[in-house]
Amino acid sequence: MSQPQPDFSHDNIRTLRGTVFRYLFLLCALLSIMTTAAIVLTLLVDAVDFFAQVSLVEFLTGTEWNPTHDPVSFGVLPLVSGTLVITVGSALVALPIGLLTAIYLSEYASDRQRSYLKPALEVLAGVPTVVYGYFALVYVTPALDTVLPVNLSTFNALSASIMVGIMIIPMVSSISEDAMSAVPDSLRQASYGLGATKFTVSTSVVVPAALSGIFSSFILALSRAIGETMIVAIAAGQTPRLIDLTDPAGLFTNSVQTMTAAMVQIGTGDLVGQGPAYKSLFAVGLTLFVITFAMNLISELVASRYREVYR
C-alpha cells in the first residue's frame, strides 16, 4: 500500500474562490468610475440634443432665461449670476466663521471641548437642506425684515445665503482644522520661545503653514454652495436676473434664481418629452457638473500638497 496522496483539490477551490472575490470587489470599486462615466454620458447625450436646437453661443451669452413661456429664451447668464450672488453671500458667512472655528478647535479648545463641539458642528451639515430652506423662508426672512432698514421680498437671496453659509461651515472648519493639526508642534514652540502670544502663533504661524489645506476647504465649500439646491429653490425664489451692480443692496434683498433652482423649477413642471425646455435641464446640469467637478478636483489636488509637506 502506498501512502495516500494529499488532496490538493481543496486548495484549488480555495484559490479559485479567492480570485472570484477579488474580481467581484474590483467590480464594486470600478462601479464608481462607471458612475462618473454614466453621469457624463447622460448629461452629454441630452445636452448635445439641446445644443442642436439652441446654439451654444446663445446659451452661454444670452441674458434672458425663459424656458417655458413664449417667446422662449435660453441664456444661462442670469442663472449663473444668481448662483454667484448666493455663493458670494454664503462665502461671506461661512469662510470667516469656519476659519475662526478651525483656529479655535485646533489651537484653543481642550480635548474635552473638542469632543463636544466637533459633533455639534457636524450636525449643521447633517440637517436636510429642505429644512434649512423652510427655516430661511418662514423664520429668517420675517426676522430680518423687521430688523433691517431695507425692504426684503418674500423670496430673497439674503436669507438663502445665510442658510447655505451655515450649512457649509463644518466643511470649512473640519478640513481647515485637519490642516492646522498637521502643522508640526515644533513650529509653535519656536514661536512661543520668541515670546509670541497664542494669537500671534495662531495667525502668523499656524494659519500660514496650513494655508493650502485652508484654501482647499474654501474651494470645496464654495463648490457645495454652488451645487446646493433645496435652500435656494425654497427661499431665494425663481426670478432669473442678471447682476445689477448699480443696486448692490438689491442683489440680496430681491429674489434670484440659481442654476439649481432653475433645474428644480423645470423638474417640477409637467415637461416630458423632447422639447428644448426639458433638454435644457441637462445643459444646465452639465454646466453645473463641470464647474463643481473642476472645483472639487482643484480642492483635492491642493489638499494633497500639504499632506506631503509635513509627512
Partner: protein, 300 residues
C-alpha cells in the same frame, strides 16, 4: 496639541505696555473664535426651538396616520413617512454590499498603481457632485434608458444609492484601515488565504465602523430632496407604496410641497410638524450609529 505657554508668556509680559496690548488682543481673539464656533450651533438651536414650538398641536397621531389633505386640519404624513422608510431600506440593501466590496478591494487588494489612485480620486470627486446632478443621472439612466418609470420606489432608491455610495465607501475604508495589521499577519501565519483573512478577521473587526458609516450615510439619504424631484417623484401621494414600481413620495418632498402653500396653518403648523417628524427619524437613525460607535470604542 499646542502647549499652553501663552499664559506664562502673557503674565511675564504684562509689566510692559506692549505685553498688556498683546494680552488683550489674545483674549479678544480667543473670545471671537469661540463666538464663531458657537454661532452656527446656536442659530440652528434657535431655529429648531422655533419649529418645535410651532409643531405643538399639529404633530399628533392623526398627522402621522392620515394621507395628505388640502385642509390643514386633516393633512397627514403617512404616505411620505412610509415612502421614505421604504426607499431607505432599499438603499441600505444596495449600498452596503457594493460599498463594503469597493472598500475591501481598495484597502486589501489594490496596489499603489495609477488605477487605484484614479479610483480613489474619482470617489472623492463623486462625493462632491451636487445631488441635483445625480437626479439627472437617475432621470437619464433609470427612467429614460431602462424605463423603470417616473418617480418609482426602484428609481428613487437606485438614484439616491449612487449618491451616497462614495460616502459609504470612504467610511468603510477608514474602518478597514483601522484593523491592526498584526491580526492579518496572525491569520496568514495560521495558513489562511487572503479571502479567509478578510472574511474571518478583517470584516468582523471593521464591521461596527462600517455599520456606523453606512447608517450615517442613510441619514443623509433620508433628507435628500433634489434628486427625487429630478426623477419626477410626486411631491404628494395619497397612498402608501405597495410595490417597487409604484410611485413614491418622501418626507422632504412632502415638506417642500407644503412649504409652498400660502396659508399660515400650513406654513407654521403642518410643515413644522413634518419637519419635526423628519428630524426625529433622522435623530433616531444617527443615535443608532452613535450607540454602535460608542460600544465599539469601549471594546477597542
Amino acid at each position: 496639541m499646542a502647549a499652553d505657554t501663552s499664559e506664562a508668556g502673557a503674565s511675564a509680559g504684562s509689566q510692559s505696555g506692549f505685553g498688556q496690548v498683546s494680552r488683550t488682543k489674545d483674549v479678544a481673539f480667543r473670545l471671537l473664535a469661540l463666538a464663531a464656533t458657537l454661532i452656527g450651533i446656536v442659530s440652528l438651536a434657535a431655529l429648531l426651538a422655533n419649529v418645535a414650538v410651532d409643531a405643538i398641536g399639529w404633530l399628533d397621531w392623526g398627522f402621522l396616520t392620515n394621507p395628505p389633505h388640502p385642509d390643514p386640519y386633516e393633512a397627514g404624513f403617512l404616505p411620505a413617512l412610509v415612502g421614505s422608510i421604504a426607499i431607505m431600506l432599499l438603499i441600505a440593501l444596495i449600498t452596503f454590499p457594493l460599498g463594503v466590496g469597493a472598500a475591501v478591494y481598495l484597502e486589501e487588494y489594490a496596489d499603489d498603481g495609477y488605477l487605484t489612485k484614479f479610483i480613489q480620486l474619482n470617489i472623492a470627486n463623486l462625493a462632491g457632485v451636487p445631488s441635483v446632478v445625480y437626479g439627472l443621472l437617475g432621470l437619464g439612466l433609470f427612467v429614460s434608458l431602462l424605463g423603470l418609470g417616473y418617480g418609482t420606489v426602484f428609481v428613487a432608491a437606485f438614484t439616491v444609492a449612487l449618491l451616497i455610495l462614495p460616502i459609504v465607501i470612504i467610511s468603510a475604508q477608514e474602518a478597514i484601515r483601522s484593523v491592526p495589521d498584526s491580526q492579518r499577519q496572525a491569520s496568514y501565519g495560521m495558513g489562511a488565504t487572503k479571502w479567509q483573512t478578510i472574511r474571518n478577521v478583517v470584516l468582523p473587526r471593521a464591521m461596527p465602523g462600517i455599520l456606523t458609516g453606512t447608517i450615517l450615510a442613510l441619514g443623509r439619504a433620508i433628507g435628500e430632496t433634489a434628486p427625487l424631484i429630478m426623477i419626477a417623484a410626486p411631491t404628494t401621494v395619497f397612498g402608501v407604496p405597495n410595490s417597487l414600481l409604484s410611485k413614491v413620495s418622501a418626507m422632504p418632498l412632502q415638506i417642500y410641497n407644503w412649504a409652498s402653500y400660502p396659508e399660515t396653518e400650513f406654513q407654521y403648523g403642518v410643515v413644522a410638524a413634518g419637519v419635526v417628524t423628519l428630524l426625529v427619524v433622522l435623530l433616531t437613525i444617527n443615535s443608532i450609529a452613535i450607540l454602535l460607535r460608542n460600544r465599539y470604542d469601549t471594546r477597542g
